[in-house]
């Protein structure tokens, strides 16, 4: 019985120990997102960086365009976005049929000049770092 108790105490301790180690999810101020951001995204196939722009609007819509691929602002793709705590979700709206393509990211840093988030679906995790366009 004593052994069983000891095991239970140990398990509980371990459980409590792990519980205490799990960090609370971080929250970010979404207003800091408003504006145009520039991301240099490496294309391993082409082995070169692409200058990708994102524009977050307060209407929870945005645009993205890849300068390197000769996509200009007027041809930018649109998306809807939400930022819940650190969960940044883009739903890219298809131009042709209006279908939505959800993409989820985890924001790790958001300041007035810097935005960093991670695509944790990818394996390994893909990290994005954006700077605010002045």
């Amino acid at each position: 019985m004593k052994r069983i108790f000891i095991y239970m105490i140990a398990c509980l301790s371990i459980a409590l120990m792990f519980t205490s180690c799990e960090k609370d999810e971080e929250s970010f101020d979404e207003t800091l997102l408003y504006g145009e951001w520039i991301s240099m995204e490496y294309d391993s196939e082409e082995q070169k960086n692409h200058e990708v722009h994102y524009e977050y609007l307060s209407s929870k819509t945005g645009k993205t365009w890849d300068i390197t691929e000769d996509v200009q602002y007027e041809n930018a793709s649109t998306f809807e976005w939400t930022l819940v705590k650190s969960d940044l979700t883009h739903i890219h709206i298809m131009e042709g049929g209006g279908q939505g393509i959800p993409k989820s990211y985890t924001v790790t840093e958001l300041t007035a000049t810097t935005l960093k988030y991670e695509d944790r679906v990818a394996n390994p995790v893909v990290k994005y770092s954006l700077t605010k366009k002045k």
Binding site: E45, H50, S77, G98, Q99
Partner: protein, 1033 residues
Amino acid sequence: MKKVLKRIALALAILLFVVFSVIGVALWFVFTPERLTPVVRKQAAQFLTCQSEVERVELTFFSTFPKFGLKVSGFALINPMPDAQSDTLVRLDELIGVVDVGVYWKRGDIVLNELIVRKGSINAFVDSLGRPNFDITPPDTAVVEDTSASSAFKLDIHNVELDGVDLSYVDRQSKMTADVRALSLQMSGAMDSVNLITNINLKNSLVSFDFEGAKYLDSADIKFAIPSKVVMARSFVEFDESVFSINGIELSFKGTVENDTVNRRINTDVEYELRKFPVSTAIALIPASFQSYLKGIEVDGFFESDGKVSGFYTDSVMPLMDIHMVFTDGTLKYDALPLPLSSINGDFTFYSDLKNDAISYFRINSFSANTPKSSFGTKGVVNHLFSDIRIDLNSQIGRLNLSELKPFIPEDMNIKMKGIAAGNVQTAFSMSQVEKMLLDKMRIAGSVTLSDFDFAFDSIFMKTNKTKVDFALPNPNKQNKYSQYLYSKVQAENVEAGILKGPRTFIRNGIITVETSDVMDTTRLPDVACVFDIDSLAASMDTIDVQIRKPKGKLVMLSQKGPSRKDEVAVTYSNLGLNAKAGESTVKLDKTHLVANVLNFMDAPKIDLECEAANLSAAMDGNSVDIVKFSINTNLVNDPTQKDSLLQWMPKGTLSLDKGIIRTAMLNSPLEIPSIKMNFSPEVFDIKESHLKIDRSDFSLSGTLTNMLSYYRGDSLLKGDFSFVSSQTDVLQLMSLTSGIGEDSSSTDEQTVVDDSSSVTGPYMVPKGIDVTLKTKIDRALFGTEVARDIRGEVRVRDGLLVLDDLLFTTPASKMQLTAIYKTPRKNHLYAYFDYHMLDIQIEDLLKMVPSIDTMMPMLRSFKGNAEFHLAAETYMDSLYKPKKSTIRGVSSIRGYDLVLMDGETFTEIAKTLRFTKGAQNKVDSLSAEFTIFKKEIDIYPFMVVMDKYKAVVAGRHNLDMSFNYNISLLESPLPVKICVDVSGNVDDLKVRPVKCKYEDLNRPVSRKLLQNRQMELRKMIRESIMKNVVKE
């Protein structure tokens, strides 16, 4: 009786003997010269103031039988004066006078029966002070008796003869000298107080006459015979048949002349005849002082004339002259005339009183002349001589060698001309019309034939072997009331005209008729009617050659005529054949017929046009058009307020085309046009019927194209609504035909990121500025190697956007629904969107039809069986259709039932890890998956695969670089534990490793985690969004 007669005869003989004896005694014994001569000398000295000489005076009877005469020999009057040509006034060898003494004794009449002067000279002289040497009688101091009461005076001269007498008259005061040599004259006459009747016959004389130093006659041989009667009271002279001759120029005349002192006029009525004489003789008579007028003129020939002069002569009135002149065998050289004339023959009549225009005329009865190489003639009338001279001539050009016209052409004009012209010309015009160039008032008509004509003016040339030109001004053809000014008809056998080293035209057997209104009226265009009928017409310029067989037609151009008072042009034209060549380009036509009418062509033309052509064949730069029958019926309205020349023309009408074939480098195969029928207007193109074939495509197109004018103005899109019915259509080929329509150079010339090879063809650019909808009904459509059948739906092209809207069609693999959008904002920025729905398709067929699905879901290769597939994807592409990865978006949903899991390499690996039994059926009961595509990432949302005793959830990401990362969670299996694996890497480097299960509660909604629920919601959203476009049949 005999005895009586014998006695009477004897008595007469005795009487005659006595008489002649008495006369003989008187002559030879009583009135001897020795007795008479002193008497005469004494009387002469008494009556003359000058010295006189009388050598001998004798009475004659027998030589002047039956009259007594007085014969004076050696008679002279000597009256010397300074500077006189001679001291002797008169010297006569012999002077015989016969006077009827009895009459004078009885009635006091002087009857001079004869006065004969033989050999002698008379020298009359007037000095510079007017004193004559013939004033040789003493002043008459006797009282003038009143003779009115006395009996009438009578003088009767039976015969006056001068034979071999020289006369000389010198008048220093008047500076006049007259000299008559060898005068032989016979005169008779009678005079009383009323009449003077004379008959003067000048048989011979050589007359010289000088006046003021000018010699007017020089030994002129003058003869005349003039019988006349003078009524002295009326100053009336009546000439009987009279003849006057000077140097052989003989003038005969007859008539009367009267000095009408009451009316202060001279009345004439004289007929004359000037007998044929050499002109050179007459010219020789012209005084030297007047010869200068003939300088540079050499004229010869024969002249004769006859006529009549009648009427009154006053200061203001001339008698009427009816003069007929004939000039024959003449020659003329005149410095101002570059060509000498020969064989001049003319017959003229001059009828005039030199006053009255109404009756005066100069008629050329005939005139002809030759130049060295030409001959011509004319006849006609010239009248209105004293006001506006009017000339009415009919001229014949027997043969005009055009090379002779060279001297008449100014040297600075580089004109060369040769050939022969022949024909006739009628002219009627007045001088004022010529001065004012009033061609519309003149009458000019004729017919001229040109033979071997060769003309060149600088680089302009014209040649013809034979051409006949008929012309008339005004137009005698009264049918066309608007073009009565000029008529011209040209009949040419062979004519070549053009510019050296430039355009040239050749006409063979052509008839061209032109009628015009006043071409000199500069205030408006002339009315013209032109009819032509030509066997063949050829023209060339540079590399352009045109040959027309049997061109025939009529052109009528009217200026401001008809009820509308508007300009009008009407054209009818036809030909049997036309060949044209420009460089390597050719056009051929068989029969062509054209009717056109242009109204108000000067301001806002309105054109009605009907044109039919058969067997049109054209080729250019490897492109060709062949049309068996072509017709167009249109009217065009011009709007001059438009600045754009194209917008100024508003066409409306119908077009019909049969059996056409177009071959062009743009098309790999000929475009066959079995038929096209359409109506068109500035705004609307209404295609009633059209059948087209190109290579593997054939289709019928009908419908309307609207807003054409607005589109051209840039006001709106070109709108079209067509029905496109085809048994077979090669889609890609038709797309290439319409690529780039409406593109401006800025968009097509933009910099692209493609290699040079792409610039040859470039991407398909959706036409801009148009909004065209095709309601398609295609039995068989070819997309490259793929075939789709029974296509129904709309294809819409709107301003650079191509939409295939809910197109239903059948492929060998499946019945499909397709909505596609393709737009081309820039050449290097092309957008494509596809919304596929395949409701029943074999997976392997699906992978074959859409190979890119294998990229997105490689695991599909492991399945076989029927599936339901939906895919919506879009991307922008560069000019090489290479997707711009940043713009790739897509969603897809797939459902599969009773699928067979194939023994694929991947499955084997998975089965090994999951410990599948080899005997297990590789059947999958169902497959339900959704995935999205974003950039190069393909996210496969968790889906369940049920197979045998296994139930697994698969989810993960696949990248376009063919790397992937899947999580497979085995929810149910015979195994006592749940096994989950991550499969990552790529096909060549596959890594499978056990991991914590992510989706073990996916099939238990109550147990799902937040993330799993979220993903299920997204799947539902994806599914719903893609299914909303499925059309339910």
